[in-house]
């Protein structure tokens, strides 16, 4: 229970940072998606089941509090958590390169999922131009923060396990 509480606290801290501090450093309204990074890191460190649960929790938090399209982030993050968790069995936990690289791929996957939802909702827009405007800065932001976030989550997990 204590472990769950600590992970919930970490998620909340990341969420607060994402919605209050990071927008100050945003580019054209785009900034780092800490919830996505947290999902990827958790899945790589704790495996598929917990990765999916973190994806659900992070997506729910995001969808509920920001008034975005409800369910889209949950679905996308859960898939990412599942994929990264399944893949984590092939990667050493001390190996940081693959999770960091996967965070960037996960950002692109999340973008593609949201794009698909938008098209299904009936919004029509120039996909190429939109991707050029948003996807590249998004991936760059993810790349910048992927390593520090993954290291922080890795250290956090080690400390939590010691408690």
């Amino acid at each position: 229970m204590k472990t769950f509480g600590l992970w919930a606290l970490l998620t909340a801290v990341f969420y607060v940072l994402q919605t209050s501090l990071l927008p100050i450093f945003s580019y054209g309204g785009i900034s780092t998606n800490f919830m996505l990074l947290l999902t990827v890191s958790t899945a790589f460190i704790l495996g598929a089941r917990k990765g999916v649960f973190m994806g659900f929790a992070a997506g729910l938090l995001q969808d509920l509090t920001t008034g975005s399209y409800f369910g889209c982030s949950i679905f996308s993050y859960m898939l990412i958590g599942l994929g990264c968790g399944k893949f984590s069995t092939h990667v050493f936990k001390e190996q940081f390169f693959v999770p960091v690289l996967t965070s960037i791929v996960a950002a692109a996957f999340h973008y593609a999922m949201m794009l698909m939802f938008m098209l299904l909702f009936g919004y029509r827009f120039d996909i190429e131009a939109h991707a050029g405007q948003t996807l590249l800065p998004m991936m760059l932001y993810q790349f910048l923060f992927a390593y520090p976030v993954h290291r922080l989550v890795y250290n956090f997990d080690k400390r939590v396990k010691r408690i």
């Binding site: 919605t19 209050s20 054209g28 309204g29 785009i30 920001t66 008034g67 939109h130 998004m138």
Partner: protein, 258 residues
């Protein structure tokens, strides 16, 4: 005899005295220098701490000045817009503007806020309250693709109606759509709310037309708007709690005729 021996002794001793005195002076100088250095080091530490403190104070003062300016502007708007009862609010959270544009403000049902109340700044329209919590609320910005605002061209000879909605292609510049192709809309026209729909009161500035483009169908055109509000730097805003018709301007006394 005595003075001679005294002189001789002094003559012998004086070089030693000079050397010892010089050495003593040097040692004294070095000691005082070391003492000074130690004092300087302490002073340096104190001054550094003071500088840090002053920097922090300066930063706080700059922040307070900036906040003061923003609130003064908002207060000025509150006093000029007598047809509205406004409630000041502060943005406490926002999501990246990739697919939706929402902010969270620090006012909720406990402060009397309700769904669909319009949100403005002294510069123009921001959006509307889309979901009210107890102490906070979500505000859907006019940049959100789900947002639709009934608007018209402010120019008296035009008054063309249209709908302003968020554009996924350009998240910072909404579009005024549903404009007939032959309608009188020009670049730099000011767009204000029409009051239709019941959510947004009439006459709030939305932005001005930056560009006019033909719609894909061929019968309509749309205007790309530059909003008067800078959504990237949205901090303090006001919720229109009550909206009344603008009071008529007082009659001016007729000029006296001789």
């Amino acid at each position: 005899m005595a003075p001679a021996s005294s002189h001789g002794l002094m003559l012998v001793l004086s070089p030693f005295q000079s050397v010892v005195s010089w050495t003593g002076e040097r040692i004294g100088h070095v000691t005082s220098t070391v003492q000074e250095l130690m004092t300087v080091q302490e002073q340096n530490k104190e001054l550094r701490a003071e500088i840090e403190q002053l920097r922090a104070q300066n930063l706080e003062a700059s922040e307070a000045v900036a906040e003061n300016q923003r609130l003064r502007a908002l207060l000025g708007y509150k006093e000029s817009a007598k047809q509205f009862d406004l409630m000041a609010a502060r943005v406490i959270g926002r999501e990246s503007a990739t697919w939706s544009s929402m902010v969270v403000i620090n006012r909720g049902a406990a402060d009397g806020l309700m769904n669909d109340m319009a949100v403005v700044t002294e510069l123009g329209l921001v959006g509307h309250v889309s979901e009210v919590g107890l102490n906070s609320s979500k505000v859907q910005l006019i940049l959100d693709p789900r947002s639709s605002v009934g608007t018209l061209v402010q120019r008296p000879e035009s008054r063309v109606l249209g709908i302003v909605e968020g554009d996924l292609n350009n998240p910072t510049m909404p579009r005024m759509v549903n404009i007939p192709k032959d309608a009188d809309v020009k670049v730099d026209d000011v767009i204000v709310t029409s009051g239709f729909g019941g959510v947004y009161p009439k006459g709030i500035v939305v932005g001005h037309v930056r560009e006019i483009k033909n719609d894909e169908g061929g019968l309509l055109k749309y205007g790309v708007l530059e909003t008067t509000v800078d959504f990237q730097r949205l901090e303090d805003l006001a919720v229109i709690v009550v909206s009344r018709e603008a009071p008529p301007t007082p009659l001016q006394p007729a000029p006296a005729t001789e």
